[in-house]
C-alpha cells in the first residue's frame, strides 16, 4: 500500500522503482562479495609481488621474484605434481566406480534408497576425523590392513600356496605408496557424490529409448555405450569439474592422515594447499605463499574454462 502511494507521489516509473528496490536489496550482499571475495583475491595477486611486512608501507615491490623462486624450488614441483596426480587418480576412478554403482542401483528393484544412503554417507562426514580413522587402518604395525595381510599370509601358508603370500605394507610411510593410499581415502569419500548424481542422471533418461533400441536388437553393452553414456554427458562434465576442483584444493585429509609428518614421507603426499599453508602460517613467507595460491587459482581457472568449452559442444544422439 505504502509503496503504491509513494510511487505516485514521487513520480517514479515502475521500472525505476524496481531498480531502486533491487539495488537496496543487493547493497549489503554486493559489499560482502567485494570485501570478502574480490578484494582478497586481488590482494593475493598483489601480495605475491611484494615482500611481506605487517605494515603495508614497509612492503617492497619485487615483481615476479617469488614466482621465479617457486618454479626453481623442487618442493613446489613435488607439490604441484602430487596435486595433479591426486586429481588424475581420484577423478576418473571415482567417476567410473560411481557410474558403475549407479547403473547397478538402477537395475535393482528394492533397497535402492538404502544403498544410495550408505554409499553417500562418507561424503558428508568430516574429512579431518575420516583421515584419522584411515590413518589408523593404514598403521604399519597395528593397522587393520596389515592385520588382514598377516591373516592372509597364515592362510596361504596353511594351504601351502606360498605364491599367494603378500608382504605387509608401510602404506603411508612408504614414499612410493603414500600418495595412492591417500587417494584411496579421497575416492572412498567422493564416490557417494558421483553415485547420487549419476543415479539422478540415469533416472532422467526415458525408458522408451532403451526399449526402442532393444527391439532393434541392441545388447546391454550397446545400450550403455550408445544411449546411457552420451545422454549422461552433461552429468559427467559436472562431476569432473566439481571433483577436480575439490581434489585440487586437498588439505584436511593430508594434514591429518599423517599428522607427525604432514605431506610426507619426503613430501610425497604434499598438496599445493598444504604447501601454501606451511609457507604462510609456518614460516611467515606470506608473499611466496600468495604466489602459490595464484598458481592454484590459474590451474582451477584453466580446468573450468576447458570443461565449459566441452559442455558447450553439441552432441547428436
Amino acid at each position: 500500500m505504502t509503496s503504491s502511494t509513494s510511487r505516485r507521489r514521487r513520480g517514479f516509473s515502475l521500472a525505476q522503482r524496481e531498480t531502486a528496490w533491487a539495488y537496496t536489496f543487493l547493497a549489503l550482499p554486493i559489499f560482502f562479495f567485494i570485501a570478502v571475495r574480490f578484494w582478497p583475491a586481488i590482494q593475493s595477486f598483489r601480495l605475491s609481488l611484494y615482500t611481506w611486512h605487517v605494515n603495508p608501507d614497509q612492503r617492497r615491490f619485487i615483481g615476479l621474484d617469488y614466482y621465479r623462486e617457486m618454479f626453481g624450488n623442487p618442493i613446489f614441483h613435488q607439490a604441484l605434481k602430487n596435486t595433479l596426480l591426486y586429481a588424475l587418480v581420484t577423478v576418473p576412478i571415482s567417476i567410473a566406480l560411481g557410474l558403475g554403482i549407479a547403473v547397478l542401483l538402477q537395475s535393482i528393484a528394492r533397497g535402492r534408497g538404502l544403498f544410495r544412503a550408505i554409499y553417500f554417507a562418507p561424503y558428508i562426514t568430516p574429512a579431518v576425523a575420516v583421515a584419522w580413522v584411515w590413518g589408523w587402518m593404514y598403521n604399519q604395525n597395528f593397522g587393520l590392513f596389515n592385520r588382514l595381510i598377516i591373516e592372509w599370509w597364515d592362510f596361504a601358508e596353511r594351504i601351502g600356496a606360498e605364491w599367494l603370500i603378500v608382504q605387509p605394507q608401510a602404506f603411508l610411510r612408504n614414499p612410493d605408496t603414500a600418495l595412492y593410499a591417500v587417494a584411496a581415502v579421497i575416492i572412498w569419500q567422493q564416490l557417494g557424490f558421483q553415485v547420487v548424481i549419476f543415479l539422478a542422471g540415469l533416472q532422467g533418461i526415458p525408458r522408451s529409448y532403451y526399449e526402442a533400441a532393444k527391439i532393434d536388437g541392441a545388447d546391454g553393452w550397446q545400450l550403455f555405450r550408445h544411449i546411457t553414456l552420451p545422454l549422461l554427458n552433461p552429468v559427467m562434465v559436472f562431476a569432473v569439474i566439481i571433483t577436480s576442483i575439490t581434489v585440487l584444493q586437498l588439505f584436511d585429509q593430508i594434514v591429518n592422515i599423517n599428522f607427525t609428518d604432514q605431506g610426507g614421507p619426503l613430501n610425497r603426499t604434499l598438496s599445493l594447499a598444504l604447501y601454501m599453508f606451511n609457507e604462510a602460517f609456518g614460516r611467515a613467507r606470506v608473499g611466496y605463499a600468495a604466489a602459490i595460491t595464484v598458481v592454484l587459482f590459474l590451474i582451477i581457472l584453466t580446468i573450468t574454462l576447458i570443461q565449459l568449452r566441452v559442455t558447450q559442444r553439441r552432441f547428436e544422439y
Binding site: 509503496s3 521500472a15 524496481e18 531498480t19 533491487a22 536489496f25 550482499p29 562479495f33 570478502v36 571475495r37 574480490f38 578484494w39 582478497p40 583475491a41 590482494q43 593475493s44 547397478l104 542401483l105 533397497g111 534408497g113 554417507a121 562418507p122 562426514t125 568430516p126 574429512a127 579431518v128 576425523a129 575420516v130 584419522w132 589408523w136 597395528f142 587393520l144 591373516e151 547420487v196 548424481i197 539422478a200 526402442a212 532393444k214 527391439i215 550408445h226 552429468v235 562431476a239 566439481i242 585440487l248 584436511d252 594434514v255 591429518n256 607427525t260 594447499a273 599453508f277 604462510a280 602460517f281 605463499a289 600468495a290 602459490i292 595460491t293 592454484l296 587459482f297 582451477i300 573450468t304
Partner: protein
C-alpha cells in the same frame, strides 16, 4: 543411430518388452545385489572399525581381533574430560548455526532479486557472483587473516563466521529455485499493493521451501566440517571447532589410538545421525544442485 525397419506400434513395443524383460532380469539382478552389498560393506567398514576401536582399552586396541572383548566407555570419558570437547561442540554449533541463518536469508534474497526483479546490470552481477565460485579458498585465507589480525577478529566467533556469510553457490542455488516460481505471482502481488520486501518474504520465500531446506543442510554440514579457515582463525583452545579440536588433540595424543578413535567417533557420529534423519532432503539437494546446475 538406431533406425526401425517396419511400422511398429506402441502396443507392439510394450508386448515385446513385457515378454523379454521379466525372465531375463533375475540373474543379473542377484549379481547386482551381491556387488552392491560388497561395496556397501567397504563403505561402512571404516565407520564400524572406528566405533569398535573406540570401545577397546589402550592395550586391546593394539591387539589383533576386531570385536572388543569388553566394551568400555573410558576412552570417551577421558577425551571429554581431558579436552574441551563440549566447548568445541558448542563453538561448532554457534558457527554453523549463525552462518546458516545468514546464508538462508541473504542467498535467498539475492537469488530472488536476480531471478525475479527487472533492473539494469542484473546479468553482470550474476556473472560476477558466479565467478567467485572459481576462486579457491586457499587464495582468500591469507588476506582474510591479514584483515582479521588488523581488526582483532582472530579467535572470535565473528572471525570464524564472516567469510561464509554469503556463498556464491547458495545464491546460484536459490536463483534456480526462484526461477521456478511464476513471475505473474509477484506481479499480481504488486498490483494488490504488497510491498517489495513483502513480495520476497510473504510470496517468494514460502514457495522455495525445498531449496531452503537443501541449502540450510548443506551450509550447516559444510560449516560443521570446515577445517582450513577455523584452523587459521580459531586455534585458541576455547575457540576451536570440533574438526580443529579433534585434529590438534589427536596430534598431541600421539599413538593413543583408543583416544583418537573415540574423539573421531565424537566428530563423525553426530553428522551420521543427522544424515540418517535428513537423508532424503540431503540427497535430493545434491541432485537438484547437480542436475539443475
Amino acid at each position: 543411430m538406431v533406425t526401425s525397419t517396419g511400422p511398429i506400434t506402441r502396443r507392439d513395443v510394450r508386448a515385446v518388452t513385457e515378454r523379454t524383460r521379466r525372465p531375463r532380469r533375475r540373474g543379473p539382478m542377484i549379481a547386482a545385489y551381491v556387488i552392491l552389498s560388497l561395496g556397501a560393506l567397504l563403505m561402512v567398514f571404516p565407520f564400524i572399525w572406528m566405533l569398535l576401536s573406540s570401545f577397546k582399552d589402550a592395550r586391546e586396541v593394539l591387539s589383533p581381533g576386531i570385536w572388543p572383548s569388553r566394551f568400555t566407555l573410558t576412552n570417551y570419558i577421558e577425551v571429554v574430560t581431558r579436552t574441551s570437547f563440549p566447548r568445541w561442540f558448542l563453538n561448532s554449533l554457534i558457527v554453523a548455526t549463525a552462518t546458516t541463518a545468514s546464508v538462508l536469508l541473504l542467498c535467498s534474497l539475492v537469488g530472488y532479486v536476480l531471478a525475479r526483479l527487472r533492473f539494469p546490470g542484473k546479468n553482470l552481477i550474476f556473472i560476477l557472483i558466479l565467478s567467485t565460485l572459481m576462486i579457491p579458498t586457499e587464495m582468500l585465507v591469507i588476506p582474510w587473516y591479514v584483515i582479521s589480525s588488523r581488526f582483532d577478529w582472530i579467535n572470535t566467533y565473528w572471525g570464524l563466521i564472516f567469510p561464509g556469510l554469503i556463498p556464491g553457490f547458495g545464491v546460484f542455488l536459490m536463483r534456480q529455485f526462484f526461477q521456478t516460481v511464476p513471475r505473474d505471482l509477484f506481479d499480481a502481488g504488486r498490483i494488490d499493493g504488497v510491498s517489495e520486501p513483502g513480495l520476497f518474504f510473504r510470496i517468494g520465500l514460502p514457495l522455495v521451501g525445498p531449496g531452503l531446506a537443501a541449502l540450510g543442510i548443506f551450509s550447516f554440514i559444510g560449516n560443521w566440517n570446515a577445517y582450513l579457515w577455523p584452523l587459521i582463525a580459531g586455534q585458541a583452545p576455547s575457540m576451536r571447532t570440533v574438526p580443529v579440536g579433534i585434529s590438534l588433540f589427536s596430534g598431541e595424543a600421539g599413538a593413543a589410538w583408543h583416544l583418537i578413535m573415540a574423539s573421531s567417533s565424537l566428530a563423525i557420529v553426530p553428522v551420521l545421525i543427522v544424515f540418517v534423519l535428513l537423508q532424503r532432503q540431503i540427497i535430493e539437494g545434491v541432485v537438484l544442485t547437480g542436475i539443475k546446475g
